[in-house]
Protein backbone atom coordinates (compact mmCIF):
# COMPACT_ATOMS: atom_id res chain seq x y z
CA UNK A 1 0.00 0.00 0.00
CA UNK A 2 1.35 3.45 -0.86
CA UNK A 3 2.09 5.97 1.86
CA UNK A 4 -0.55 8.38 0.60
CA UNK A 5 -3.25 5.72 0.79
CA UNK A 6 -2.23 4.85 4.34
CA UNK A 7 -2.48 8.48 5.40
CA UNK A 8 -5.89 8.77 3.79
CA UNK A 9 -7.06 5.61 5.49
CA UNK A 10 -6.09 6.95 8.86
CA UNK A 11 -7.81 10.30 8.38
CA UNK A 12 -10.99 9.36 6.55
CA UNK A 13 -13.40 6.49 6.55
CA UNK A 14 -12.96 3.78 3.92
CA UNK A 15 -15.08 4.18 0.82
CA UNK A 16 -17.57 1.47 1.71
CA UNK A 17 -18.17 3.06 5.12
CA UNK A 18 -18.80 6.43 3.51
CA UNK A 19 -21.25 4.92 1.06
CA UNK A 20 -22.98 3.01 3.84
CA UNK A 21 -23.28 6.06 6.10
CA UNK A 22 -24.54 8.23 3.24
CA UNK A 23 -27.05 5.56 2.33
CA UNK A 24 -28.31 5.06 5.86
CA UNK A 25 -28.44 8.77 6.70
CA UNK A 26 -30.12 9.86 3.49
CA UNK A 27 -32.45 6.87 3.57
CA UNK A 28 -33.54 7.80 7.08
CA UNK A 29 -34.16 11.39 6.02
CA UNK A 30 -36.04 10.23 2.95
CA UNK A 31 -38.44 8.03 4.89
CA UNK A 32 -38.97 10.41 7.77
CA UNK A 33 -38.87 13.82 6.06
CA UNK A 34 -39.14 13.74 2.30
CA UNK A 35 -41.80 11.10 2.03
CA UNK A 36 -44.24 12.76 4.49
CA UNK A 37 -43.72 16.07 2.71
CA UNK A 38 -44.47 14.48 -0.65
CA UNK A 39 -47.42 12.63 0.85
CA UNK A 40 -49.09 15.88 1.95
CA UNK A 41 -49.19 17.17 -1.58
CA UNK A 42 -49.85 13.73 -3.06
CA UNK A 43 -52.95 13.25 -0.92
CA UNK A 44 -54.13 16.81 -1.48
CA UNK A 45 -54.05 16.39 -5.24
CA UNK A 46 -55.17 12.74 -5.16
CA UNK A 47 -58.46 13.53 -6.85
CA UNK A 48 -57.24 16.33 -9.04
CA UNK A 49 -56.91 20.09 -9.15
CA UNK A 50 -60.58 20.94 -9.11
CA UNK A 51 -61.30 18.96 -5.95
CA UNK A 52 -58.29 20.66 -4.35
CA UNK A 53 -59.43 24.13 -5.35
CA UNK A 54 -62.96 23.41 -4.21
CA UNK A 55 -61.75 22.15 -0.83
CA UNK A 56 -59.92 25.41 -0.22
CA UNK A 57 -62.61 27.69 -1.61
CA UNK A 58 -64.83 26.91 1.33
CA UNK A 59 -66.03 29.52 3.85
CA UNK A 60 -64.81 27.46 6.79
CA UNK A 61 -61.39 26.92 5.29
CA UNK A 62 -61.08 30.61 4.42
CA UNK A 63 -62.17 31.68 7.90
CA UNK A 64 -59.61 29.26 9.37
CA UNK A 65 -56.87 30.82 7.24
CA UNK A 66 -58.00 34.28 8.31
CA UNK A 67 -58.02 33.32 11.98
CA UNK A 68 -54.57 31.74 11.73
CA UNK A 69 -53.21 34.92 10.18
CA UNK A 70 -54.80 37.19 12.77
CA UNK A 71 -53.43 35.10 15.66
CA UNK A 72 -49.93 35.45 14.19
CA UNK A 73 -50.51 39.16 13.59
CA UNK A 74 -51.26 39.74 17.27
CA UNK A 75 -48.63 37.41 18.65
CA UNK A 76 -45.58 38.46 16.66
CA UNK A 77 -45.31 42.12 17.74
CA UNK A 78 -45.51 41.15 21.40
CA UNK A 79 -42.92 38.49 20.79
CA UNK A 80 -40.65 40.94 19.01
CA UNK A 81 -40.76 43.56 21.75
CA UNK A 82 -40.30 40.98 24.49
CA UNK A 83 -37.41 39.31 22.64
CA UNK A 84 -35.61 42.62 22.13
CA UNK A 85 -36.11 43.74 25.72
CA UNK A 86 -35.04 40.41 27.21
CA UNK A 87 -32.00 40.09 24.97
CA UNK A 88 -30.90 43.67 25.66
CA UNK A 89 -31.10 43.20 29.44
CA UNK A 90 -29.50 39.75 29.42
CA UNK A 91 -26.78 40.24 26.81
CA UNK A 92 -25.58 43.73 27.70
CA UNK A 93 -25.82 43.84 31.50
CA UNK A 94 -24.79 41.76 34.46
CA UNK A 95 -27.27 41.21 37.22
CA UNK A 96 -28.14 38.65 39.82
CA UNK A 97 -30.52 35.88 38.82
CA UNK A 98 -29.64 36.13 35.13
CA UNK A 99 -29.35 32.39 34.52
CA UNK A 100 -32.65 31.84 36.32
CA UNK A 101 -34.24 34.36 33.98
CA UNK A 102 -32.81 32.56 30.94
CA UNK A 103 -34.21 29.27 32.23
CA UNK A 104 -37.58 30.90 32.73
CA UNK A 105 -37.57 32.12 29.14
CA UNK A 106 -36.84 28.54 28.03
CA UNK A 107 -39.71 27.13 30.07
CA UNK A 108 -42.36 27.24 27.32
CA UNK A 109 -40.16 24.92 25.22
CA UNK A 110 -40.36 22.30 27.94
CA UNK A 111 -44.04 22.44 28.86
CA UNK A 112 -46.49 20.26 26.94
CA UNK A 113 -48.84 22.36 24.76
CA UNK A 114 -51.80 20.56 26.29
CA UNK A 115 -50.72 21.64 29.77
CA UNK A 116 -50.33 25.22 28.52
CA UNK A 117 -53.87 25.18 27.18
CA UNK A 118 -55.19 23.71 30.40
CA UNK A 119 -53.39 26.32 32.49
CA UNK A 120 -55.16 29.16 30.70
CA UNK A 121 -58.45 27.29 30.84
CA UNK A 122 -58.04 27.13 34.60
CA UNK A 123 -57.55 30.90 34.78
CA UNK A 124 -59.98 32.25 32.24
CA UNK A 125 -62.44 29.34 31.92
CA UNK A 126 -65.96 29.37 33.37
CA UNK A 127 -64.80 27.68 36.59
CA UNK A 128 -61.42 29.42 36.50
CA UNK A 129 -59.96 32.12 38.71
CA UNK A 130 -61.14 35.04 36.60
CA UNK A 131 -64.00 33.11 34.99
CA UNK A 132 -66.90 34.60 36.97
CA UNK A 133 -65.54 38.12 36.68
CA UNK A 134 -65.04 37.78 32.93
CA UNK A 135 -68.51 36.30 32.52
CA UNK A 136 -70.05 39.15 34.51
CA UNK A 137 -68.37 41.68 32.21
CA UNK A 138 -69.21 39.65 29.11
CA UNK A 139 -65.59 39.31 28.08
CA UNK A 140 -64.86 36.12 26.23
CA UNK A 141 -61.29 34.89 26.54
CA UNK A 142 -61.50 31.12 26.44
CA UNK A 143 -63.17 29.61 23.37
CA UNK A 144 -62.48 32.88 21.59
CA UNK A 145 -59.66 34.74 19.83
CA UNK A 146 -58.07 36.33 22.96
CA UNK A 147 -57.47 32.93 24.57
CA UNK A 148 -55.92 31.57 21.40
CA UNK A 149 -53.63 34.59 21.16
CA UNK A 150 -52.53 34.27 24.78
CA UNK A 151 -51.65 30.57 24.60
CA UNK A 152 -49.78 31.14 21.34
CA UNK A 153 -47.86 33.99 22.99
CA UNK A 154 -46.87 31.60 25.77
CA UNK A 155 -45.76 28.91 23.34
CA UNK A 156 -43.71 31.23 21.08
CA UNK A 157 -42.26 33.49 23.78
CA UNK A 158 -38.68 32.06 23.71
CA UNK A 159 -38.04 32.17 19.95
CA UNK A 160 -36.84 35.75 19.34
CA UNK A 161 -35.07 36.09 22.69
CA UNK A 162 -33.25 32.78 22.21
CA UNK A 163 -31.87 33.89 18.85
CA UNK A 164 -30.85 37.36 20.00
CA UNK A 165 -29.19 36.61 23.34
CA UNK A 166 -26.15 34.67 22.03
CA UNK A 167 -25.83 37.01 19.05
CA UNK A 168 -25.81 40.15 21.18
CA UNK A 169 -23.49 38.58 23.73
CA UNK A 170 -21.02 37.74 20.99
CA UNK A 171 -21.15 41.28 19.64
CA UNK A 172 -20.32 42.80 23.02
CA UNK A 173 -21.13 46.36 23.95
CA UNK A 174 -18.18 48.32 22.62
CA UNK A 175 -20.00 49.54 19.53
CA UNK A 176 -22.85 50.86 21.66
CA UNK A 177 -20.37 52.53 24.00
CA UNK A 178 -18.62 54.08 21.02
CA UNK A 179 -21.93 55.45 19.75
CA UNK A 180 -22.68 57.02 23.13
CA UNK A 181 -19.21 58.52 23.44
CA UNK A 182 -19.76 60.11 20.03
CA UNK A 183 -22.83 61.85 21.36
CA UNK A 184 -25.65 59.55 20.26
CA UNK A 185 -28.81 59.38 22.37
CA UNK A 186 -30.05 56.01 23.59
CA UNK A 187 -32.60 55.82 20.78
CA UNK A 188 -30.04 56.84 18.12
CA UNK A 189 -27.66 54.20 19.45
CA UNK A 190 -30.35 51.52 19.27
CA UNK A 191 -31.61 52.45 15.82
CA UNK A 192 -28.29 53.15 14.11
CA UNK A 193 -25.94 50.66 15.78
CA UNK A 194 -27.75 47.88 17.66
CA UNK A 195 -30.61 47.20 15.27
CA UNK A 196 -28.52 46.96 12.07
CA UNK A 197 -26.20 44.53 13.85
CA UNK A 198 -28.95 42.17 14.94
CA UNK A 199 -31.39 42.48 12.05
CA UNK A 200 -30.74 39.01 10.65
CA UNK A 201 -30.94 37.30 14.01
CA UNK A 202 -34.14 39.17 14.72
CA UNK A 203 -35.63 38.08 11.43
CA UNK A 204 -34.56 34.49 12.09
CA UNK A 205 -36.34 34.49 15.43
CA UNK A 206 -39.49 36.02 13.97
CA UNK A 207 -39.58 33.44 11.16
CA UNK A 208 -39.38 30.58 13.65
CA UNK A 209 -41.93 32.17 15.98
CA UNK A 210 -44.28 32.74 13.05
CA UNK A 211 -44.08 29.11 11.92
CA UNK A 212 -44.90 27.95 15.41
CA UNK A 213 -47.64 30.52 15.93
CA UNK A 214 -49.43 29.54 12.72
CA UNK A 215 -48.94 25.81 13.26
CA UNK A 216 -49.64 25.45 16.99
CA UNK A 217 -52.19 22.74 17.61
CA UNK A 218 -52.30 21.26 21.12
CA UNK A 219 -52.54 24.42 23.20
CA UNK A 220 -54.88 26.23 20.81
CA UNK A 221 -57.04 23.13 20.57
CA UNK A 222 -57.70 23.19 24.32
CA UNK A 223 -58.77 26.83 24.49
CA UNK A 224 -60.46 27.20 21.11
CA UNK A 225 -63.65 25.24 21.74
CA UNK A 226 -63.66 24.16 18.07
CA UNK A 227 -66.46 26.43 16.96
CA UNK A 228 -66.63 26.01 13.20
CA UNK A 229 -66.11 29.13 11.18
CA UNK A 230 -65.33 31.06 14.35
CA UNK A 231 -62.54 29.64 16.47
CA UNK A 232 -60.95 27.15 14.14
CA UNK A 233 -57.43 27.90 13.07
CA UNK A 234 -56.08 26.08 10.05
CA UNK A 235 -54.47 23.20 12.02
CA UNK A 236 -57.74 22.68 13.92
CA UNK A 237 -59.65 22.78 10.66
CA UNK A 238 -57.36 20.03 9.33
CA UNK A 239 -58.15 17.89 12.35
CA UNK A 240 -61.90 18.25 12.00
CA UNK A 241 -61.92 17.40 8.30
CA UNK A 242 -59.61 14.44 8.88
CA UNK A 243 -61.83 13.06 11.62
CA UNK A 244 -64.79 13.40 9.26
CA UNK A 245 -62.94 11.23 6.73
CA UNK A 246 -62.71 14.16 4.32
CA UNK A 247 -59.15 13.28 3.28
CA UNK A 248 -58.95 15.62 0.30
CA UNK A 249 -60.25 18.55 2.33
CA UNK A 250 -57.91 17.81 5.24
CA UNK A 251 -54.88 17.47 3.01
CA UNK A 252 -55.78 20.50 0.95
CA UNK A 253 -55.68 22.61 4.10
CA UNK A 254 -52.62 20.71 5.28
CA UNK A 255 -50.89 21.50 2.00
CA UNK A 256 -51.32 25.21 2.71
CA UNK A 257 -49.58 24.70 6.05
CA UNK A 258 -46.90 22.55 4.41
CA UNK A 259 -46.32 25.34 1.93
CA UNK A 260 -45.94 27.71 4.85
CA UNK A 261 -43.37 25.30 6.31
CA UNK A 262 -41.44 25.26 3.03
CA UNK A 263 -41.45 29.04 2.83
CA UNK A 264 -40.25 29.12 6.42
CA UNK A 265 -37.39 26.74 5.63
CA UNK A 266 -36.43 28.79 2.58
CA UNK A 267 -36.49 32.08 4.48
CA UNK A 268 -34.56 30.49 7.32
CA UNK A 269 -31.92 29.17 4.94
CA UNK A 270 -31.52 32.57 3.29
CA UNK A 271 -31.21 34.34 6.62
CA UNK A 272 -28.76 31.72 7.88
CA UNK A 273 -26.72 32.17 4.76
CA UNK A 274 -26.64 35.95 5.19
CA UNK A 275 -25.65 35.63 8.85
CA UNK A 276 -22.92 33.13 8.05
CA UNK A 277 -21.56 35.41 5.35
CA UNK A 278 -21.43 38.34 7.75
CA UNK A 279 -19.65 36.36 10.46
CA UNK A 280 -17.19 35.07 7.88
CA UNK A 281 -16.54 38.64 6.80
CA UNK A 282 -15.89 39.64 10.39
CA UNK A 283 -13.64 36.70 11.07
CA UNK A 284 -11.69 37.13 7.82
CA UNK A 285 -7.97 37.44 8.18
CA UNK A 286 -6.74 41.01 8.27
CA UNK A 287 -5.29 42.06 4.95
CA UNK A 288 -1.57 42.82 5.00
CA UNK A 289 -0.52 46.18 6.38
CA UNK A 290 -0.13 49.00 3.92
CA UNK A 291 -0.42 52.71 4.10
Amino acid sequence: MSGAAAVKRALAEPRWVRVLLLGVGLGFLFFFLALPLLAVFGEAFATGWTAYAKALDDPEALSAIGLTLSVALFVLPGNLVFGLAAAWAIAKFDFRGKSLLITLIDLPFAVSPVVVGLVFLLIFGAQGLFGPWLAAHEIKVVFALPGMIIVTMFITCPFVARELIPLMQAQGKEEEEAALSLGATGWQMFRRVTLPNIKWGLMYGVILANARAMGEFGAVSVVSGHIRGQTNTLPLHVEILYNEYNAVGAFASASVLALLALVTLLAKTIVEWRMRRETLMLKAELPPEKN
Binding site: E177, A178, T185, M281, A284, N291
Partner: protein, 356 residues
Protein backbone atom coordinates in the same frame (compact mmCIF):
# COMPACT_ATOMS: atom_id res chain seq x y z
CA UNK B 1 -8.52 71.37 28.15
CA UNK B 2 -7.01 70.27 31.43
CA UNK B 3 -8.24 67.22 33.30
CA UNK B 4 -8.31 67.00 37.07
CA UNK B 5 -8.82 63.75 38.96
CA UNK B 6 -9.57 64.16 42.65
CA UNK B 7 -9.56 61.29 45.15
CA UNK B 8 -11.14 58.80 42.75
CA UNK B 9 -11.81 55.34 44.17
CA UNK B 10 -13.49 52.31 42.63
CA UNK B 11 -14.18 48.76 43.76
CA UNK B 12 -15.58 45.76 41.92
CA UNK B 13 -16.96 43.62 44.70
CA UNK B 14 -14.01 43.00 46.97
CA UNK B 15 -11.49 43.89 44.28
CA UNK B 16 -10.05 47.37 44.69
CA UNK B 17 -9.59 48.68 41.17
CA UNK B 18 -8.62 52.25 42.10
CA UNK B 19 -7.67 53.72 45.42
CA UNK B 20 -7.56 57.46 46.06
CA UNK B 21 -6.27 58.56 42.67
CA UNK B 22 -5.23 62.21 42.30
CA UNK B 23 -3.96 63.39 38.95
CA UNK B 24 -3.68 66.68 37.10
CA UNK B 25 -3.32 66.61 33.35
CA UNK B 26 -2.45 70.06 32.00
CA UNK B 27 -4.03 71.28 28.78
CA UNK B 28 -2.42 70.01 25.59
CA UNK B 29 -0.31 67.30 27.18
CA UNK B 30 0.01 63.72 26.00
CA UNK B 31 -0.04 61.48 29.06
CA UNK B 32 0.50 57.74 29.31
CA UNK B 33 -1.11 55.60 32.00
CA UNK B 34 1.40 52.78 32.34
CA UNK B 35 1.10 49.62 34.39
CA UNK B 36 0.65 45.85 34.36
CA UNK B 37 -2.75 44.41 33.50
CA UNK B 38 -5.17 44.67 36.39
CA UNK B 39 -3.53 47.82 37.76
CA UNK B 40 -6.65 49.91 37.17
CA UNK B 41 -5.40 52.04 34.28
CA UNK B 42 -8.25 51.14 31.93
CA UNK B 43 -10.79 51.64 34.70
CA UNK B 44 -9.37 55.11 35.31
CA UNK B 45 -9.58 55.92 31.60
CA UNK B 46 -13.18 54.73 31.45
CA UNK B 47 -14.04 56.84 34.49
CA UNK B 48 -12.58 59.90 32.77
CA UNK B 49 -14.66 59.05 29.70
CA UNK B 50 -17.82 58.57 31.75
CA UNK B 51 -18.20 54.93 30.78
CA UNK B 52 -17.66 53.77 34.31
CA UNK B 53 -18.69 55.60 37.43
CA UNK B 54 -16.36 56.05 40.36
CA UNK B 55 -17.46 55.09 43.88
CA UNK B 56 -16.18 58.43 45.12
CA UNK B 57 -14.07 61.34 43.98
CA UNK B 58 -14.36 63.93 41.26
CA UNK B 59 -13.48 64.40 37.62
CA UNK B 60 -13.05 67.98 36.37
CA UNK B 61 -12.64 69.13 32.79
CA UNK B 62 -11.05 72.59 32.50
CA UNK B 63 -11.90 73.22 36.13
CA UNK B 64 -15.58 72.33 35.59
CA UNK B 65 -17.22 69.55 37.53
CA UNK B 66 -17.87 66.59 35.17
CA UNK B 67 -18.18 63.69 37.60
CA UNK B 68 -21.84 63.01 36.92
CA UNK B 69 -21.94 64.15 33.32
CA UNK B 70 -23.14 61.31 31.06
CA UNK B 71 -20.60 60.03 28.52
CA UNK B 72 -22.36 61.60 25.58
CA UNK B 73 -22.24 65.08 27.09
CA UNK B 74 -18.56 65.04 28.04
CA UNK B 75 -17.23 65.84 24.57
CA UNK B 76 -14.58 63.23 24.98
CA UNK B 77 -13.05 61.34 22.08
CA UNK B 78 -12.56 57.70 22.99
CA UNK B 79 -10.57 55.21 20.94
CA UNK B 80 -11.39 51.65 21.98
CA UNK B 81 -8.79 48.94 22.32
CA UNK B 82 -10.44 46.87 19.59
CA UNK B 83 -11.60 50.04 17.83
CA UNK B 84 -15.34 49.24 18.08
CA UNK B 85 -15.92 50.42 14.52
CA UNK B 86 -19.55 50.05 13.43
CA UNK B 87 -19.29 46.96 11.30
CA UNK B 88 -22.32 47.65 9.16
CA UNK B 89 -21.25 51.18 8.19
CA UNK B 90 -18.68 52.27 5.63
CA UNK B 91 -15.56 54.08 6.79
CA UNK B 92 -17.15 57.36 5.74
CA UNK B 93 -20.33 56.68 7.73
CA UNK B 94 -18.29 55.60 10.75
CA UNK B 95 -16.48 58.93 10.83
CA UNK B 96 -19.67 60.85 10.06
CA UNK B 97 -21.63 59.13 12.86
CA UNK B 98 -20.84 61.65 15.60
CA UNK B 99 -21.94 64.52 13.34
CA UNK B 100 -25.12 62.81 12.15
CA UNK B 101 -26.42 62.10 15.66
CA UNK B 102 -26.15 65.74 16.76
CA UNK B 103 -29.47 67.41 17.58
CA UNK B 104 -31.00 68.87 14.44
CA UNK B 105 -30.38 72.52 15.27
CA UNK B 106 -26.62 72.06 15.68
CA UNK B 107 -26.20 69.31 13.08
CA UNK B 108 -24.00 70.37 10.17
CA UNK B 109 -25.40 70.27 6.65
CA UNK B 110 -24.74 67.22 4.49
CA UNK B 111 -22.14 69.16 2.50
CA UNK B 112 -20.43 70.29 5.69
CA UNK B 113 -20.42 66.72 7.06
CA UNK B 114 -18.88 65.48 3.81
CA UNK B 115 -16.20 68.17 3.93
CA UNK B 116 -15.34 67.50 7.59
CA UNK B 117 -15.20 63.72 7.17
CA UNK B 118 -12.96 63.93 4.10
CA UNK B 119 -10.74 66.41 5.94
CA UNK B 120 -10.33 63.96 8.81
CA UNK B 121 -9.74 61.01 6.51
CA UNK B 122 -7.12 63.14 4.81
CA UNK B 123 -5.56 63.86 8.21
CA UNK B 124 -5.24 60.16 8.98
CA UNK B 125 -4.08 59.61 5.37
CA UNK B 126 -6.87 57.18 4.53
CA UNK B 127 -9.17 59.28 2.34
CA UNK B 128 -8.95 56.61 -0.36
CA UNK B 129 -10.69 54.10 1.91
CA UNK B 130 -13.90 56.11 2.48
CA UNK B 131 -16.21 53.56 0.83
CA UNK B 132 -14.71 50.44 2.41
CA UNK B 133 -16.18 48.57 5.35
CA UNK B 134 -14.28 47.95 8.60
CA UNK B 135 -13.89 44.25 7.81
CA UNK B 136 -11.92 45.18 4.70
CA UNK B 137 -9.31 47.21 6.60
CA UNK B 138 -6.04 46.16 8.18
CA UNK B 139 -5.51 46.61 11.89
CA UNK B 140 -3.46 49.77 11.50
CA UNK B 141 -6.07 51.27 9.18
CA UNK B 142 -8.88 50.45 11.61
CA UNK B 143 -6.91 52.15 14.35
CA UNK B 144 -6.58 55.35 12.36
CA UNK B 145 -10.25 55.32 11.32
CA UNK B 146 -11.22 54.90 14.97
CA UNK B 147 -9.08 57.95 15.74
CA UNK B 148 -10.62 59.97 12.93
CA UNK B 149 -14.09 59.01 14.17
CA UNK B 150 -13.25 60.15 17.68
CA UNK B 151 -11.83 63.45 16.39
CA UNK B 152 -14.89 64.20 14.22
CA UNK B 153 -16.90 65.55 17.13
CA UNK B 154 -14.06 67.96 18.04
CA UNK B 155 -13.54 66.50 21.50
CA UNK B 156 -12.06 68.52 24.34
CA UNK B 157 -10.05 65.52 25.42
CA UNK B 158 -8.82 62.45 23.56
CA UNK B 159 -8.67 59.12 25.40
CA UNK B 160 -7.07 56.00 23.92
CA UNK B 161 -7.31 52.51 25.44
CA UNK B 162 -4.25 50.41 24.54
CA UNK B 163 -4.17 52.13 21.14
CA UNK B 164 -1.45 49.95 19.68
CA UNK B 165 -2.11 46.78 21.64
CA UNK B 166 -3.58 44.72 18.82
CA UNK B 167 -1.03 45.63 16.16
CA UNK B 168 2.17 43.93 15.09
CA UNK B 169 5.51 45.39 16.10
CA UNK B 170 6.41 47.22 12.90
CA UNK B 171 3.01 48.91 12.48
CA UNK B 172 3.00 49.73 16.16
CA UNK B 173 6.26 51.69 15.89
CA UNK B 174 5.06 53.62 12.85
CA UNK B 175 1.73 54.51 14.43
CA UNK B 176 3.45 55.58 17.62
CA UNK B 177 5.44 58.25 15.84
CA UNK B 178 2.45 59.21 13.78
CA UNK B 179 0.29 59.69 16.90
CA UNK B 180 3.00 61.85 18.45
CA UNK B 181 3.18 64.07 15.34
CA UNK B 182 -0.61 64.28 15.20
CA UNK B 183 -0.74 65.33 18.80
CA UNK B 184 1.88 68.01 18.24
CA UNK B 185 -0.23 69.41 15.39
CA UNK B 186 -3.60 69.31 17.15
CA UNK B 187 -2.50 69.98 20.70
CA UNK B 188 -5.49 68.33 22.27
CA UNK B 189 -5.12 66.94 25.79
CA UNK B 190 -4.71 63.21 25.37
CA UNK B 191 -4.47 60.26 27.70
CA UNK B 192 -3.55 56.78 26.56
CA UNK B 193 -3.35 53.52 28.42
CA UNK B 194 -0.53 51.06 27.81
CA UNK B 195 1.29 48.19 29.44
CA UNK B 196 4.29 48.67 27.18
CA UNK B 197 6.96 50.79 28.87
CA UNK B 198 8.79 51.47 25.63
CA UNK B 199 5.59 52.90 24.14
CA UNK B 200 4.96 55.13 27.14
CA UNK B 201 8.55 56.39 27.29
CA UNK B 202 8.72 57.14 23.58
CA UNK B 203 5.38 58.84 22.96
CA UNK B 204 4.23 60.55 26.14
CA UNK B 205 5.04 63.97 27.60
CA UNK B 206 4.37 62.53 31.00
CA UNK B 207 4.09 59.00 32.30
CA UNK B 208 1.81 57.94 35.14
CA UNK B 209 2.99 54.58 36.47
CA UNK B 210 0.20 52.63 38.16
CA UNK B 211 0.14 49.48 40.22
CA UNK B 212 -2.66 47.80 42.13
CA UNK B 213 -5.06 50.67 41.84
CA UNK B 214 -2.54 53.29 42.96
CA UNK B 215 -0.28 55.78 41.26
CA UNK B 216 3.35 54.84 41.90
CA UNK B 217 4.96 57.79 40.16
CA UNK B 218 4.16 60.69 37.87
CA UNK B 219 6.95 62.20 35.83
CA UNK B 220 8.58 62.81 32.48
CA UNK B 221 9.77 59.69 30.67
CA UNK B 222 13.32 60.51 31.74
CA UNK B 223 12.34 60.97 35.39
CA UNK B 224 10.47 57.71 35.73
CA UNK B 225 13.26 55.79 34.06
CA UNK B 226 16.31 57.31 35.68
CA UNK B 227 14.84 58.25 39.05
CA UNK B 228 12.18 55.65 39.87
CA UNK B 229 10.24 56.56 43.00
CA UNK B 230 9.61 53.00 44.13
CA UNK B 231 10.93 49.46 43.73
CA UNK B 232 7.89 48.70 41.58
CA UNK B 233 8.70 51.45 39.08
CA UNK B 234 12.31 50.33 39.06
CA UNK B 235 11.37 46.81 38.15
CA UNK B 236 8.55 47.66 35.77
CA UNK B 237 10.69 49.98 33.64
CA UNK B 238 13.55 47.90 32.31
CA UNK B 239 15.78 45.19 33.74
CA UNK B 240 17.19 45.57 37.19
CA UNK B 241 19.31 43.65 39.70
CA UNK B 242 17.94 43.56 43.22
CA UNK B 243 20.21 43.22 46.28
CA UNK B 244 19.44 42.96 49.94
CA UNK B 245 21.66 45.58 51.44
CA UNK B 246 22.81 43.91 54.66
CA UNK B 247 24.79 41.50 52.56
CA UNK B 248 25.97 44.23 50.26
CA UNK B 249 26.74 46.97 52.76
CA UNK B 250 29.62 48.25 50.70
CA UNK B 251 27.32 48.84 47.71
CA UNK B 252 24.77 50.69 49.75
CA UNK B 253 27.46 53.22 50.60
CA UNK B 254 28.18 53.86 46.98
CA UNK B 255 24.51 54.55 46.49
CA UNK B 256 25.00 58.03 47.97
CA UNK B 257 22.52 57.20 50.68
CA UNK B 258 23.48 57.20 54.29
CA UNK B 259 24.68 53.65 55.02
CA UNK B 260 23.48 53.69 58.61
CA UNK B 261 19.88 54.05 57.57
CA UNK B 262 20.04 50.83 55.62
CA UNK B 263 22.05 48.64 57.92
CA UNK B 264 19.09 46.39 58.51
CA UNK B 265 18.00 43.61 56.20
CA UNK B 266 14.83 45.57 55.50
CA UNK B 267 16.32 47.43 52.59
CA UNK B 268 16.92 46.66 48.97
CA UNK B 269 19.34 48.05 46.46
CA UNK B 270 18.47 48.35 42.76
CA UNK B 271 21.08 48.52 40.03
CA UNK B 272 20.39 48.47 36.29
CA UNK B 273 22.49 45.96 34.32
CA UNK B 274 24.15 48.72 32.30
CA UNK B 275 25.10 50.62 35.47
CA UNK B 276 27.59 47.98 36.60
CA UNK B 277 31.27 47.88 35.63
CA UNK B 278 33.25 44.67 35.59
CA UNK B 279 36.90 44.85 36.78
CA UNK B 280 39.51 42.12 36.61
CA UNK B 281 41.13 43.39 39.83
CA UNK B 282 39.49 44.18 43.20
CA UNK B 283 38.73 47.90 43.68
CA UNK B 284 37.24 49.83 46.59
CA UNK B 285 33.56 49.04 47.17
CA UNK B 286 33.47 46.21 44.66
CA UNK B 287 31.76 42.88 44.91
CA UNK B 288 33.33 39.58 44.10
CA UNK B 289 31.55 37.42 41.51
CA UNK B 290 32.09 34.56 39.10
CA UNK B 291 31.22 34.64 35.41
CA UNK B 292 28.48 32.12 34.58
CA UNK B 293 27.61 32.87 30.99
CA UNK B 294 28.28 35.43 28.27
CA UNK B 295 25.64 36.22 25.59
CA UNK B 296 26.06 38.40 22.55
CA UNK B 297 22.82 40.33 22.00
CA UNK B 298 23.05 42.67 19.05
CA UNK B 299 25.23 45.61 19.98
CA UNK B 300 25.40 44.52 23.62
CA UNK B 301 27.05 41.76 25.60
CA UNK B 302 25.05 40.38 28.51
CA UNK B 303 27.08 38.71 31.24
CA UNK B 304 25.47 36.54 33.89
CA UNK B 305 27.44 36.38 37.12
CA UNK B 306 27.01 34.56 40.39
CA UNK B 307 27.59 36.24 43.71
CA UNK B 308 27.03 33.79 46.53
CA UNK B 309 23.59 32.41 45.66
CA UNK B 310 22.41 35.42 43.67
CA UNK B 311 22.40 35.84 39.93
CA UNK B 312 23.52 39.23 38.62
CA UNK B 313 23.07 40.53 35.08
CA UNK B 314 25.48 43.03 33.60
CA UNK B 315 25.31 44.65 30.18
CA UNK B 316 28.52 45.79 28.51
CA UNK B 317 29.37 47.31 25.19
CA UNK B 318 31.09 44.98 22.75
CA UNK B 319 34.29 47.02 23.03
CA UNK B 320 34.40 46.76 26.82
CA UNK B 321 33.67 43.03 26.67
CA UNK B 322 36.45 42.52 24.14
CA UNK B 323 38.83 44.37 26.43
CA UNK B 324 37.89 42.19 29.40
CA UNK B 325 37.79 38.96 27.35
CA UNK B 326 35.63 37.21 29.92
CA UNK B 327 35.42 33.44 30.07
CA UNK B 328 33.10 31.17 31.99
CA UNK B 329 34.17 30.54 35.59
CA UNK B 330 36.39 33.61 35.71
CA UNK B 331 36.71 35.56 38.97
CA UNK B 332 35.81 39.28 38.59
CA UNK B 333 34.84 42.31 40.67
CA UNK B 334 31.69 44.32 40.14
CA UNK B 335 31.39 48.04 40.71
CA UNK B 336 28.07 49.87 40.39
CA UNK B 337 27.94 53.32 38.88
CA UNK B 338 24.48 54.06 40.21
CA UNK B 339 22.49 52.39 42.99
CA UNK B 340 19.08 53.16 44.46
CA UNK B 341 18.32 51.86 47.93
CA UNK B 342 14.76 51.55 49.21
CA UNK B 343 13.93 50.87 52.83
CA UNK B 344 11.52 48.00 53.46
CA UNK B 345 10.75 45.50 50.75
CA UNK B 346 7.69 47.01 49.16
CA UNK B 347 5.83 45.50 46.28
CA UNK B 348 8.17 43.84 43.85
CA UNK B 349 7.42 42.36 40.48
CA UNK B 350 7.74 38.82 41.77
CA UNK B 351 4.57 38.94 43.78
CA UNK B 352 2.84 41.09 41.21
CA UNK B 353 -0.27 39.84 39.49
CA UNK B 354 -1.80 38.05 42.44
CA UNK B 355 -4.50 40.68 42.56
CA UNK B 356 -5.64 40.16 39.00
Amino acid sequence: MSIEIRAIGKRFGSFVALEDINLHIPSGELVALLGPSGCGKTTLLRIIAGMESADHGQVLFGGEEATHLPARDRKVGFVFQHYALFRHMSVFENVAFGLRVKPRRVRPTEAEIRRRVMELLDLVQLDWLADRYPSQLSGGQRQRIALARALAVEPRVLLLDEPFGALDTRVRKELRRWLRRLHDEMHISSVFVTHDQEEALEVADRVVVMNRGRIEQIGSPDEVYSAPASPFVYQFLGNVNVFHSRVHGAWAEIGRESPAAYASAEAMAFVRPHDIDIERQPVVGSLEARVQDVHLIGPLVRVELAHATELIEVELTRERAALLSLVRGQQVWLKPRQVRVFALPETTLEDEGSGI
